[in-house]
Symmetry: C2
Subunit: 110 residues, 2 copies
Amino acid sequence: MSMVKQNLFSNIPESFPEEIFETLLENNRFKLERILSSGQATPENDWYDQEKDEWVVLLKGKAGLRFENESEVIELTPGDHLLIPAHKKHRLEWTDEKQKTVWLALHFDS
Amino acid sequence: MSMVKQNLFSNIPESFPEEIFETLLENNRFKLERILSSGQATPENDWYDQEKDEWVVLLKGKAGLRFENESEVIELTPGDHLLIPAHKKHRLEWTDEKQKTVWLALHFDS
């Protein structure tokens, strides 16, 4: 990270088997990440159960996000953002298989 | 901010005389803002001189950013991001007049 500009939509591999998590900024207050998806989903019956609050925005591509005990899958398209409170279990039902999905995620203590 | 999704590219007024700064998240660790521009620039000979570090990303539109004592104007297009250290004087030379420019800015203590 520096005063030299970088681009969130650059340096995206042609293909990747697992989602890619890259730290853009990290200190004792928060961590800012770029996340890349290419069709991955959270394994069946698995849930993310995180220690920290997460603010997340989808910038490119598409994804389906589900919260525990909710039947509806929330479709996220570019610009969509939401706050996932710590320990609110959630999973990615799907991400776009036809194009790369680019996210920003900000993790912080409540 | 909530588990209900919102969209960074929604709720943009048709026209606005001044840039619009909206706080998306704020706590004692950082402030996350959406900034909307529509052709505005920093007034001539004025500089931003901020107490905090600022990470900024341009998501839509275009802008020209200049740092003090640098002749080059840095053109920012969607996805471009950079870190502006506290007290690093900078100004917006221009923002796109033909479309709205949408930014995210994260302000935090060094």
